[in-house]
């Protein structure tokens, strides 16, 4: 019996800039079950981070959710007022930020900041008990609990990232969004942290959204993969299917651009052109200018995001039939 944890329907989000409206997220729909992880992959600017911030409604003043519904475990996030929103943040959905970010305030100790998160959502826990919990979390992510009272600048990049993960777990969230959590780390640390994350996710039976532009990383941690292009979701299926039998030409091109250690040497395919300017997105299917299979229908009408095969969604007028890429 699978429980639906997150359900996103037709999410549309725009930024208002001095040059016009930027259509950052356009009619995106997906679902995540309890304990399942979804990887969102795509080029820079395709809208994956915008989706993440839209889920917790942490948008700048010039951004707006124009349409759509976000339901977390039967609670409608899009309809929440400010007070409810403050509660659902971190306790319902928490975030692990990019390693390069200063997600930690430099003038407070790491432990204090996690205690703050805990106390903000559990008013009856006193400081002593909160610190005990922080120590547990540190052990869980592989940090020495004594580091709790250190300041962020005293920790290495990998240690900081683990602390940020511990912070994200601190209120037992139902869903964690990990936004490029290992991009700024070196490969060895990256590997360790990815494995740690995967293990914690399985152990705590948490849902996770994993965001990256690196399809290799996505492949390692995700149960399902959603491919984003120009603010729309191009394809959504479980990880194996996306890799072995993608049906959207963009996914195919994305995979083709990625060298494989096994298998024959082959010429890497590259996509001509650039991702479109979301201020004036292309008409119809946003991928049509770069798509080798585009027809006039693709230019005139945007393809609907439908289930082409069991549990395999795509937005394409001419999906591909490819076996064993």
């Amino acid at each position: 019996m699978t429980i639906k944890m997150l359900s996103v329907k037709d999410l549309t989000m725009h930024y208002t800039t001095s040059r016009g409206e930027v259509s950052a997220v356009n009619n995106v729909s997906f679902e995540i079950e309890k304990g399942q992880s979804l990887g969102l992959v795509g080029e820079s600017g395709c809208g994956k981070t915008s989706i993440a911030f839209s889920l917790i409604r942490l948008l700048p003043d010039n951004a707006q959710i124009k349409n759509g519904e976000i339901i977390l475990d039967n609670e409608n996030i899009t309809a929440m007022n400010k007070k409810q929103l403050l509660q659902v943040r971190w306790k319902g959905i928490s975030m692990v930020f990019q390693a390069a970010m200063n997600a930690l305030n430099p003038i407070f100790s790491v432990g204090d900041q996690i205690v703050e998160a805990i106390q903000a959502h559990n008013s009856d826990i006193n400081i002593k008990n909160a610190r005990v919990k922080v120590a547990e979390l540190f052990t869980l992510v592989g940090l020495d609990p004594q580091l709790m009272d250190r300041y962020p600048h005293e920790l290495s990049g990998g240690m900081r990232q683990r602390a940020v993960i511990a912070m994200a777990l601190s209120c037992n969230p139902k869903l964690i969004i990990a936004d490029e959590p290992t991009t700024a780390l070196d490969v060895i640390v990256q590997d360790r942290i990815l494995n740690q994350l995967k293990e914690i996710q399985k152990r705590l039976d948490m849902s996770m959204i994993y965001i990256s532009h690196d399809i290799a990383v996505i492949a390692e941690v995700s149960d399902r993969i959603g491919v984003m292009y120009a603010g729309r979701m191009a394809e959504l299926a479980d990880a194996k299917t996306v890799f072995n039998a993608p049906i959207h030409p963009y996914t195919y091109a994305l995979l083709g651009a990625f060298p494989s250690i096994k298998g024959k040497k082959r010429v890497l395919t590259t996509l001509p052109g650039e991702p479109p300017d979301l201020l004036n997105p292309p008409s119809g299917c946003r991928f049509h200018p770069r798509c080798p299979r585009a027809t006039s229908q693709c230019q005139q009408e945007a393809p609907p995001f439908v289930e082409h095969k069991p549990d395999h969604f795509a937005a394409c007028w001419h999906p591909m039939e490819v076996k064993n890429v």
């Binding site: 917790i56 942490l58 929103l85 403050l86 509660q87 659902v88 943040r89 971190w90 306790k91 928490s94 975030m95 930020f97 970010m101 200063n102 997600a103 930690l104 305030n105 430099p106 003038i107 703050e116 998160a117 903000a120 959502h121 400081i127 300041y151 600048h153 005293e154 912070m167």
Partner: protein, 383 residues
């Protein structure tokens, strides 16, 4: 931490020596020397003048004189005043210094607090008329010509409305048959203020780890109790009315000097807050579901506080300079007025001595502020 403090102290001492040396160079650069002042007296013959120079050690080579100058300074011997002969310069300074200190410290404290608070509000209400209005008011007040502004204020409050006294720091008629002198009262006032400040800081530190509501109540309540308590204690003493007189005379000078200087902190605070609010950890704090007031006051303002404090440190010499102007307008007999008097009367020892002292004061204040900064910014301590 200790290493940092030690390093700072040595740097300040070094600066002090350079400062004194610069003063010596200025003094020496003048053509002739002090004995030239006596040239106009026909009774003094050139031989007598030469004898004077020997007595004063002015015939020795410059290096010797320079070292003597430094040595005297270190001992606290700043010479003897001409215009207040035979009082020693140090003596006169000690008498006048507390009055300047009282004004200076009060001004810095109030102007920083007000500037900090208003700057925070301005950043939070960016783009509104409130912000623009306050910016213009702030800029005009910051660049207003202080003597002119001071005179306007004196005219308004002292003469037209007759609310506050016009100048000086006490009303002689009240003080006529009183056993104590003004300096003792000043001294005790400073002591009260220092004790009050320490208590407030203690209260703040002790309540750090408690919950928000308890903390707010204790801090605000503590502040009221401490201030109210001090006033109460003073009014119960037999000399309370004297202190009240001094405070009454202080209101206008403090008001003018605060109005003229708070905008510096305020505008900087607004800029720094805006920069801080762009930082990633602010966004992370929002994602954690913390309420806006906590983000503003705890996360953003605490970070923005540091550059504002640095600015306070940097503007200490300007504040002292401004103090000179304020003292002149209000005839407040502190160091600033002394300096002007000395310059106008060509009392070189007094002028140089006062300047030395003001320099020392500036450097000391700088040192204290630097050390306080090390306590506030955890990143500095571990260098």
């Amino acid at each position: 931490m200790k290493k940092y403090i030690l390093r700072r102290v040595i740097q300040i001492l070094f600066t002090l020596i350079i400062f004194q040396s610069l003063l010596f160079i200025i003094l020496d650069a003048q053509p002739g020397d002090i004995t030239n002042l006596y040239l106009l007296n026909p009774k003094i013959t050139p031989e007598a003048q030469e004898q004077m120079r020997v007595v004063l050690g002015l015939d020795k080579p410059p290096l010797v004189r320079y070292l003597r100058w430094l040595w005297n300074f270190v001992q606290g011997n700043l010479g003897t005043s001409f215009s207040h002969y035979p009082r020693e310069v140090m003596d006169i300074i000690m008498e006048r210094a507390p009055r300047t200190l009282v004004l200076f410290l009060t001004n810095q404290l109030i102007s920083f607090s007000v500037g900090f608070f208003l700057g925070k509000q301005m950043a939070w209400h960016r783009g509104t008329t409130f912000e623009y209005g306050l910016t213009i008011i702030g800029v005009i007040l910051f660049t207003i010509f202080t003597p002119w502004f001071g005179l306007m204020m004196i005219y308004l409050f002292g003469i037209e409305l007759n609310l506050l006294p016009i100048g000086k720091f006490l009303d002689p008629s009240i003080w006529r048959n009183v056993p104590l002198d003004a300096n003792t009262i000043f001294y005790y006032l400073i002591v009260t203020a220092v004790i009050g400040l320490i208590l407030i800081i203690l209260v703040n530190r002790l309540t750090r780890k408690t919950s928000r509501i308890v903390r707010q109540i204790v801090r605000i309540g503590g502040f009221v109790v401490i201030v109210g308590g001090s006033i109460l204690i003073w009014s119960l003493t037999p000399v309370g009315f004297l202190a009240g007189d001094i405070v009454k005379h202080m209101i206008l000078p403090v008001l003018v000097s605060t109005l003229v200087s708070f905008a510096g902190t305020m505008l900087l605070m607004r800029n720094t807050m805006l920069e801080t609010l762009r930082e990633d950890y602010i966004m992370a704090a929002r994602a954690k579901g913390l309420p806006e007031s906590v983000i503003r006051d705890k996360h953003a303002a605490r970070n923005a506080f540091l550059p504002a404090f640095t600015n306070l440190i940097i503007s200490i010499p300007f504040a002292l300079s401004g103090g000179i102007i304020t003292e002149t307008i209000f005839s407040w007999p502190g160091m600033g007025l002394t300096l002007l008097e000395a310059v106008n009367l060509e009392d070189i020892p007094l002028a140089m001595g006062t300047l030395s002292f003001v320099g020392v004061l500036a450097l000391l204040a700088h040192l204290v502020a630097d050390i306080a900064y090390a306590f506030l910014d955890p990143r500095i301590r571990y260098q």
